[in-house]
């Protein structure tokens, strides 16, 4: 097989509009085929695409994977992370025993000792400080059943509002953009919309690197007959952007100005669907008035792109018949995140392009199971898309859980992660349990995070499969089973649910988070109002059963989505009900949106300040099934560049790594493809600072600095790019904090989604050493570079 770290997207299989995307069976095996004893059905957990795959098992070990050709998501394909990432399960440094801090050091302990330490401290904190001193920070990597258990433990058992996921960093804006426009979370479209669209608008979404198999699907349309036209909005000349008909390489942090200009062009040239707007939306006059203040020339000034290119993009968007728009971190991790993401919804709404084949907007997820934190209420919402301000909704939840409604905190929205850490910082939270995530590398302003997590007054429990920068700060470390070693469900970015079966046993004493959470609930004696166990389960399937029952009648209704159904059919898209047992391809085909006051998930916010609307205000103008067009003015970033910090840093991800590399650095092929940190500078900025290719440079912000070799292929003058994946666990001196991009970023978040701002940080650069003398060699390996190099003319494969 070709080295798929360089041949990232694999062979093209072009197809035309309305044809079936051809299958392509990707596989990677470390043993000969005939030695495989079993193939265990699952799906990939290394991005939000959720590609169906089978895990090959031999001798009680995973020995490879193959894409499922009958799976609706990937038609047999797998990306490099899917093909090679599973090998991390075998890594020699897996955590196999609990660790408890004694005498200042983490030492191996048995489960009884570790769990007693966790529950003793929980009980002591509860007795002394009450439930508001307890907090939980979870992942986008666990399974739905585990998140649901966490929601039940935190919201009904402990009674704390402090439960959120690291999905706050990746997908919160997707969730809130959907809620603000359509009344509820839930991605409207289906990947099959890509098969029939004639126009693609990709906003801050470098899909070629973040969701490689989805890009293969798009590429196969782009290289097929009746090629869709492609507009890409991204500051960087990504592999995605290089395929574009129009690439708007805007200044970081100016999305709202550009999107307003595109909306203005559409409205001004009457490329809008007035019938649709009149019948199915509210708010158009305000949107028209605000966007009228953004003529192309003004946006061109703000965004640093030619006005003619803006008009050309608007012409493409405005003349297509079937528009698929997608949004990801370039929008979500900038300031004004929700305001910008909502303007992309507005583009599809003014064009009347939603709820029909080929017409939709994807507010993309980041992580593979991010969607499930949103549905189970393990992020800043209640389960089943219930509205915390709606007393009937809260009562429904209380009835399902058989607890008093007052037990469930709903005096304000569940606390978002960044506010949880603020409470840890000022000492009002005393107990924090982190599951399946590595905040000591992934959160902004790392010196602050290390100080918070390392504080003596905070008792820190960390569940993980590997030693990480975060486990190093913990008081108790619990060894977790990984994907393939446990059973559970998860949902991808087009609402496709897969059941991932346990293929092998976890190593040593590692346990699934589900089992650990049940054990915790039992030891904490968490009960309902009748004294019965609050988590009355022994297996994940029982938790799933309760969860899907709770969704009945809600927009995310999955009440017929049983394990049996998933075993029989593979991936199924919700809603999945008795009336639609095979699932539902797309939402809002009747153009009725879940905005009615009794149905909506939230009453919404002012996009600029985050001011929360209340029930009375909302009911006074109940959209009652119409989508809501919300406008917003552009605001400059809160930290502008100045003489001392003249450049703008934007951080991001690369194709070979996932988050903080806990898995991907332990997969040989992926690690070899991109072993080291680097920063990308524009040649003009580099020349001004006397920096040549490969020189070691220091990038400094007001909060910290990092040192890394320079690669002179930066996006535009004045902009520095750094991948955010690299931390310290694989460094010779892990206490020398000069490598992670988040040393530089600052603690600010979007006022609506509360997603941290990673894309706009003022920095300066200075040369530290020559590439030849003292500098490190250029660190991106050839495979790493060529994977994202300008495309070669298509070659015929033998």
């Amino acid at each position: 097989m070709a080295d798929r770290t360089t041949d990232v997207w694999g062979a093209r299989t072009p197809f035309g509009a309305g044809d079936r995307w051809p299958s392509r069976g990707d596989r990677y095996l470390t043993v000969p085929d005939d030695e495989v004893e079993r193939w265990v059905p699952s799906a990939c957990v290394l991005c939000s695409n959720g590609c169906g795959l089978d895990i090959a098992v031999a001798g009680g070990r995973m020995v490879g994977v193959r894409g499922r050709e009958d799976d609706r998501v990937n038609h047999g394909r797998l990306g490099p992370k899917g093909l090679y990432g599973w090998q991390a399960n075998h890594s020699g440094d897996r955590l196999t025993r609990p660790l408890v801090r004694t005498g200042g050091a983490l030492r191996p302990a048995d489960w009884e000792t570790a769990m007693r330490a966790v529950t003793d401290r929980s009980k002591a904190v509860l007795a002394e400080h009450g439930p508001l001193a307890m907090a939980f920070y979870t992942s986008g990597q666990l399974f739905a059943e585990e998140y649901y258990a966490q929601a039940l433990i935190a919201r009904a058992g402990i009674g704390t509002p402090h439960l959120d996921g690291n999905t706050r960093l990746c997908t919160a804006t997707a969730e809130w953009a959907l809620i603000e426009s359509f009344g509820s979370d839930g991605v409207p479209g289906s990947y099959t919309d890509i098969d029939v669209c004639d126009t693609l608008l990709l906003v801050g979404h470098n899909v070629a690197e973040t969701q490689t198999v989805l890009w293969s699907r798009m590429l196969d349309r782009l290289h097929g007959p009746d090629r869709p036209r492609l507009v890409v909005i991204d500051p960087r000349a990504t592999p995605t952007a290089r395929e574009a008909d129009v690439h708007l390489a805007l200044r970081p942090g100016t999305n709202v100005a550009l999107l307003n200009a595109l909306l203005h062009e559409l409205i001004d040239n009457d490329r809008i669907d007035r019938h649709f707007l009149d019948a199915h939306t509210v708010g158009f006059p305000d949107l028209a008035e605000v966007t009228a203040q953004y003529p192309a020339e003004k946006a061109a000034d703000i965004c640093g792109v030619p006005a003619d290119d803006i008009r050309a993009a608007a012409r493409i968007i405005g003349t297509g018949q079937r528009l698929v728009s997608t949004v990801l971190q370039g929008v979500y991790q900038s300031h004004q995140a929700t305001a910008a993401a909502v303007q992309v919804n507005n583009i599809n709404l003014v064009r009347g392009m939603i709820g029909r084949p080929g017409c939709t907007v994807f507010q993309m997820n980041g992580q593979p199971t991010a969607e499930n934190t949103r549905e189970t209420g393990a992020d800043g919402t209640l389960p089943a898309y219930l509205n915390w301000q709606n007393d009937a909704h809260v009562q429904r939840l209380a009835d399902a859980w058989n607890v008093d409604a007052l037990q469930i905190p709903h005096w304000s929205p569940p606390t978002h992660a960044m506010e949880i850490f603020r409470h840890c910082e000022n000492g009002s939270i005393r107990f924090l349990w982190v599951t399946g995530t590595n905040p000591a590398v992934s959160l902004p302003e790392l010196h602050r995070i290390r100080a918070i997590y390392g504080s003596d007054r905070l008792f820190l429990v960390v569940s993980d499969a590997f030693p990480t920068e975060t486990t190093a700060l913990a008081d108790v470390v619990l060894p977790a089973a990984m994907w393939g070693e446990k059973t559970g469900c998860f949902t991808n970015a087009d609402r496709t649910v897969h059941l991932s079966e346990r293929a092998v046993d976890p190593p040593g004493e590692a346990r699934s988070d589900f089992d650990v959470l049940l054990d915790y609930a039992r030891r904490m004696d968490l009960t309902d109002r009748d004294g019965r166990r609050l988590l009355p389960w022994s297996r994940p399937e029982e938790a799933w059963h309760d969860f899907i029952a709770l969704t009945q009648g809600r927009p995310c209704d999955q009440s017929a989505l049983t394990y049996d159904a998933l075993r029989n059919a593979g991936g199924i898209q919700w809603p999945c009900t008795d009336r639609a047992p095979d699932g539902t391809e797309r939402l809002y085909t009747d153009h009725v949106f879940p905005t009615a006051a009794d149905r909506c998930e939230d009453y919404g916010h002012d996009l600029t300040t985050g001011a929360q609307k209340d029930a009375d205000t909302y009911r006074a103008h109940d959209p009652d099934g119409r989508a809501v067009l919300k406008a917003a003015h552009y605001l400059p970033p809160h930290e502008p560049v100045d003489e001392r910090y003249p450049l703008q840093l934007t951080t991001g991800r690369i194709v070979h790594h996932w988050h903080t590399r806990t898995k991907t650095a332990r997969s040989p092929q992926l690690q070899d493809a991109a072993p080291e940190m680097w920063v990308e500078l524009h040649p003009e900025d580099a020349a001004r600072a006397g920096i040549a290719e490969g020189d070691l440079v220091r990038v400094a912000s007001r909060r910290g600095d990092l040192v890394a070799p320079a690669v002179l292929r930066g996006p535009r003058p004045g902009v520095v790019f750094a991948p955010f994946h690299y931390g310290y666990f694989d460094q010779a001196d892990p206490d020398r904090h000069n490598r992670a991009a988040n040393e530089l970023t600052r603690t600010e978040w979007d006022p609506v989604s509360k997603q941290p701002v990673y894309k706009v940080t003022a920095v300066r650069i200075v040369k530290v050493a020559d590439a030849a003398a003292g500098g490190r060699p250029v660190v991106i390996s050839e495979p790493g570079l060529s994977a994202v190099a300008p495309p070669q003319p298509p070659k015929e494969r033998p």
């Binding site: 009450g130 005096w411 002012d606 985050g610």
Partner: protein, 165 residues
């Protein structure tokens, strides 16, 4: 100066005071990022409102001028507050100070809002349609500012008032 001019002067003063108060609250709670950045957003909105109001002053005989700040003094004061917040921001008393400051801010925002209501009524009675159209979004934005302060107080109060030390 006409009575409407007097009202414009009053409104201008309340907007510039609100801007200054937002600024001060932001710097005093610089370690509380959920207050710091939105308060700066509010302050910038108030500055923009004040500029608009100055534009209307001439029509009603009110000569309105931008507030005079000594840049050096302002910077020094902000730096002091900012640093104080960084030092004290990890102590629990800072929570009670935050609630007190936000309550004061709320009162100022409401006072500003009621001045907008009066100006709207004057514009109606004067049949000054241009003024009426122009002030609508600004009045609404002031309403939203008060809603944001309420939102922030509702979020912050339980942890500050109930979580024990």
């Amino acid at each position: 100066m006409s009575k409407t001019g007097l009202l414009l002067k009053e409104l201008h003063a309340s907007e510039t005071e609100l801007a200054a108060a937002c600024h001060a609250v932001a710097e005093r709670h610089a370690a509380d990022h959920g207050t710091y950045y939105p308060c700066h957003t509010l302050a910038a909105q108030c500055d923009a409102h004040a500029e608009q109001i100055r534009g209307w002053g001439g029509r009603y005989g009110a000569a309105l001028h931008p507030p005079v700040h000594s840049d050096l003094l302002t910077a020094a004061r902000d730096a002091l507050r900012h640093e104080g917040s960084e030092l004290l921001g990890r102590r629990t008393e800072s929570g009670l100070l935050l609630l007190r400051d936000l309550r004061r801010l709320y009162v100022k925002a409401e006072a500003t809002y009621i001045n907008w209501i009066m100006l709207g009524q004057a514009a109606r009675a004067l049949r000054d349609q241009d003024l009426l159209t122009a002030l609508g979004p600004l009045q609404q934005q002031t309403r939203t500012q008060a809603t944001w302060i309420t939102t922030r107080i509702k979020e912050a109060a339980p942890q500050i008032l109930v979580a024990t030390d």
